[in-house]
Amino acid sequence: MKRSPLLLLLLATLGTSSAFAVEYTTVIPEKSKITFTSKQMGVPVDGKFGKFTATLNFDPAKPEAAKAQIEIDLASVDAGSKEANDEVISKGWFNVKEFPKARFVSTSVKSVGGSRYEARGQMSIKGKTRDMTIAFSYRPAGVNAVFEGLLPLQRTQFGIGEGAWGDTSVVADEVPIKFRLTASQAIATPKK
């Protein structure tokens, strides 16, 4: 995962406590996955995205300072069958030629009790940007941390499935996206 200068700056400003803060920053792709479930005529069909990148800054001691950016390579979609894969990258669905990526950028994170959190942010797919709230949990796993959560995507808000495919009685509007991101930690250097 590449760290942008902006993120480095962020890291530096975040590390204001005198103690060493544990911050999870680097998502390990092999231990992470993004899946979704579409519902076709009442039949849940599982799918996944094979390629994505995520940048995190999460310190369990200061969740409100956390940041996340997730970028999904839409052409890496597996929608459950060859036929569906060819369809879903086409113009009426993701239109990957013009809009190859989906992007979520967090604007604020808050704790909602226990190890559960809520990230508000903006989701951009197919040239459309919408506010979205992601519920997620945090769990330490050895030196890493596992973040699991759910994006409540409504496909028609982004024009995913146009024309006849807009019929949500055939393919449901709600396509919940689940993720499990495993991130390794970086130790933020204290300022003092």
Partner: protein
């Protein structure tokens, strides 16, 4: 006076017959359609009707165990009676095997069968696309054979009714008084 099947047996026979004919037609038509919402609907209707046949056949078998079918006309030669029983037995086997092959095929493709979009059937096998391709062939040729047996069944009934005029078909038709 000829002896007839019970009303329930007739209802089950003709209901299942209509469903099966619809399933053959829809199945052959939809298989090569390009992906569209309409195709997804057709596939679902086909599966719902197929599961319905599967369930109705069990009702029919239970009914038949409790209510013995009327005897075949005594005028029929012994070999014809044997052939009739064998043919009917084969139809029962196919009425169960055909929907089961479709159900398994769907599971192998990774699509759970959800009856009327409400009641999910268990996936007896997991997603396995190689197996799915094999089961697709099994489902296709099993049903071509099924269609051939159904056509044979109908032709023999027509022969009994209009060539032999021995009242065999009347056993499965309601009386007019």
């Amino acid at each position: 006076m000829i002896e007839r099947y019970t009303r329930t047996a007739m209802l089950l026979h003709w209901l299942i017959a209509m469903l099966i004919l619809g399933l053959f037609g829809l199945g052959i038509y939809m298989a090569d359609l390009p992906l569209s919402p309409q195709k997804l609907k057709f596939y679902s209707y086909h599966k719902w009707a197929g599961v319905s046949v599967f369930l109705l056949v069990w009702v029919r078998i239970l009914w038949r165990i409790k209510h013995a079918p009327p005897a075949l006309p005594a005028s029929q030669p012994h070999w014809q009676q044997l052939a009739a029983h064998a043919g009917h037995g084969l139809l029962y086997v196919l009425m169960i095997a055909a929907p089961v092959s479709g159900w398994l095929m769907s599971s192998a493709h990774g699509f759970t069968t959800v009856w009327f979009g409400v009641l999910p059937l268990p996936d007896l096998i997991g997603k396995d696309l190689e197996l799915a391709a094999t089961l697709k062939l099994v489902h296709r040729y099993l049903n071509y054979s099924f269609l051939a047996v159904v056509i044979g069944h109908a032709l023999v009934a027509i022969k009994h009714q209009w060539v032999d005029s021995d009242g065999t078909l009347n056993r499965m038709l309601p009386s007019h008084h």
